[in-house]
């Protein structure tokens, strides 16, 4: 197989275009790169001078990502990115040399891309989008909202306005709008009763689209269901972890010379969220 632009779902041929990967050690930014065991022909761990760098998105991660690019990395994956300084994000986004993929928890589940074309086809003023996450007790709610905004951006489009209705120790409820005026209801519910999960559902007068996403650390599949007057269709169910899909994406971008808008989107979401939190009633 030589046309790497068609590799998204195709089996990977032996030894072709294998990229090397490293991570910045065992410190706060080090990622154990366990995912590599599931992509042994595509990615290969090395101790330095790798094609790709994988790092944890711990506070200050933009500096480490910049450092990796400065040292010649062809692509970077940031696992579970946390809020960072906006200017540093923009600077990173402006570097076109190599893609930086943000492995935000829900975004890369294959069910998201399966649902995305339907979500995008059906948004508009007569649609309502509901986004809900269930997370363990004491989860960071700013991070939860940031991850939810990343998910909405990937599945449907960016949220451009946001207002908290409630933000307390048990979760939040918020209302937002997409660029085309679609109303979005966002909620986080903290409980130990259910494993972490995210749901996005769009309902409009004649159709509905919903995607259910399990926690990203296993390959428990997400589900995307599209329904309308003719019935309901469960989209292809892929037993691939979101995390593995993120790594396949960065590899694909590197091999095809593609770019990633993740850092730019993350900066915009961070701006929106910070402003909304400032006006949230305590």
């Amino acid at each position: 197989m030589t046309d790497s632009s068609t590799t998204t779902d195709a089996p990977i041929a032996f030894g072709v275009d294998r990229l090397t990967v490293t991570s910045p050690g065992s410190g706060p930014y080090g990622d154990p790169l366990l995912v590599l065991a599931s992509l042994p022909e595509s990615l290969h761990p090395v101790s330095s001078d790798a094609d790709l760098v994988g790092l944890r998105g711990t506070v200050g991660w933009t500096r480490v990502a910049q450092g990796a690019l400065d040292s010649g990395a062809r692509g970077v994956v940031v696992v579970a990115p946390e809020p960072v300084d906006r200017d540093a994000l923009v600077a990173l986004a402006d570097r076109s040399s190599a893609p930086v993929v943000l492995d935000s928890p829900w975004v890369h589940n294959p069910a998201v891309s399966a649902a995305a074309e339907h979500f995008r086809r059906l948004t508009g003023p007569s649609a309502l989008v509901e986004a809900r996450v269930e997370l363990p007790l004491a989860s960071d709610l700013f991070q939860a909202a940031l991850d939810q905004l990343s998910l909405l951006r990937a599945a449907i489009g960016p949220v451009v306005a946001l207002r908290y209705l409630r933000l307390d120790g048990r979760g939040y409820d918020a209302l937002g709008t997409l660029a085309d005026g679609t109303t979005v209801s966002l909620a986080a519910i903290l409980t130990g009763g259910l494993p972490a999960a995210a749901t996005v559902r769009l309902v409009r007068p004649t159709e509905a689209v919903e995607v259910h996403l399990p926690a990203p650390d296993t390959a428990t599949p997400g589900q995307a269901i599209v329904s309308g007057p003719d019935g309901a269709v469960l989209q292809v169910t892929k037993y691939e972890s979101a995390h593995r899909a993120a790594w396949r994406r960065v590899r694909e971008l590197v091999l095809t010379g593609g770019r990633s808008d993740d850092a730019r989107g993350f900066a915009d979401d961070l701006d929106l969220l910070s402003a909304a939190v400032r006006t949230a009633t305590p």
Binding site: A161, L175, T177, P205, T206, E207, S227, G231
Partner: protein, 352 residues
């Protein structure tokens, strides 16, 4: 038809009588039997009477005065409920089953409670989910969830009523759509009020059970959804409550009530209205395990009717009608606040 069957008289013979009550009464025909039906539309009354082989009339007073009518079912448009329930109580019937809502205002509901107490005639509201085996097993199993739940979600996505009605019966004389000459803001306000008092009201009694401080309600947001629905966020006492309801043409109906605490999620999934599809299912998730109750073959409508028949026979404890009036007051309070907010914010951005 045994001699021991109890005579039923029905006020209002629209789709709900045809698709819900008559098929349900038929399932328990050993104990109840329709003897008289009334509708202001004589053709409708006559057609329904011919189905159940009963007398018919266009006069509510005449039906209520019929001594063979021991149970009165109030299934007329909402604005007639209170007066008809009160008249049936005053006539000394054995039981009154009033379709939801019990009344339009809290004052009407309180008057019903008072008349029921005075006359000793038991009144039941057709809130079928409060009779659904799924709700009853939830009650039996939820332990301290009423105290510990912090988040309540009540969500309804239903296909058009007519579709469900047509699966349950063949509707005679379906009311036509009305021509709308109201302004956009009036329509939005009416959709909100009508949706809360017509659709959300079904399970507001369930929500209220989980909100011990049910008089302390703060409206956080309310929006009308296209083509007719609502999204309402509330704080009720210390509980976060979201009510969501919408009719759409897709084929994935959802009617779900959830109560969430720090360690448990309780989810009740009910079947759509009108259809006779057995009970709901209650599921408890505790992080490690999942416990499920139902479905059973008996739905809320049938349990409701068996209870009404038992009441009429003096074999069941009557409901506390002032509790039902509290349910109504809770619903009216939410409907009024949500509607006032829709008017006040009409045309402004949801995020403004």
């Amino acid at each position: 038809m045994a001699d021991s069957t109890i005579g039923v008289g029905i006020l209002g013979c629209g789709p709900v009588t045809q698709a819900i009550h008559i098929p349900t009464i038929d399932r328990i025909r050993d104990s109840v039997q329709v003897v008289n039906v009334m509708d202001v539309n004589a053709q409708v009354a006559e057609a329904i009477a011919s189905r159940v082989e009963s007398r018919w009339t266009t006069s509510a007073d005449e039906l209520i005065a019929d001594p063979a009518v021991e149970i009165v079912v109030v299934c007329s448009p909402n604005k007639f409920h209170a007066a008809q329930v009160i008249a049936a109580c005053r006539a000394g019937k054995k039981a009154v089953l009033c379709e939801k809502p019990l009344a339009l205002t809290e004052a009407e509901a309180r008057e019903i409670a008072q008349v029921s107490a005075e006359t000793g005639v038991p009144v039941v509201v057709g809130a079928m989910h409060t009779f659904d085996p799924a709700w009853l097993s939830a009650r039996a199993e939820w332990g301290d969830l009423v105290e510990t739940a912090h988040t309540i979600r009540y969500s309804i996505v239903l296909t058009p009523n007519t579709r469900s009605e047509d699966f349950a019966s063949e509707i005679f004389g379906r009311p036509g759509a009305r021509i709308d000459a109201r302004s956009a803001v009036d329509i939005a306000a009416d959709v909100m009020h009508g949706s809360i008092m017509g659709l959300a009201i079904h399970d507001l009694p369930l929500v209220r059970v989980f909100c011990p401080d049910f008089t302390d309600v703060e409206l956080l947001s309310s929006q009308v959804l296209d083509p007719g629905g609502y999204l309402v966020n509330l704080r009720v006492g210390a509980k976060n409550v979201q009510l969501y309801g919408l009719n759409n043409e897709s084929w994935r109906p959802e009617w779900r009530f959830e109560a969430v605490s720090d360690d448990t999620v309780m989810r009740i999934d009910f079947p759509p209205p009108y259809v006779h599809a057995g009970s709901g299912v209650t599921t408890f998730f505790d992080g490690e395990s999942t416990r499920s109750f139902g479905p059973t073959g008996v739905n809320g409508y049938e349990r409701e009717w068996r209870y009404v028949a038992d009441l009429a026979r003096g074999e069941a404890e009557p409901l506390d009608v002032s509790y039902l009036a509290d349910d109504l007051a809770f619903a009216v309070g939410i409907a009024d606040a949500a509607t006032a907010n829709v008017r006040a914010r009409f045309g402004s951005e949801v995020t403004a």
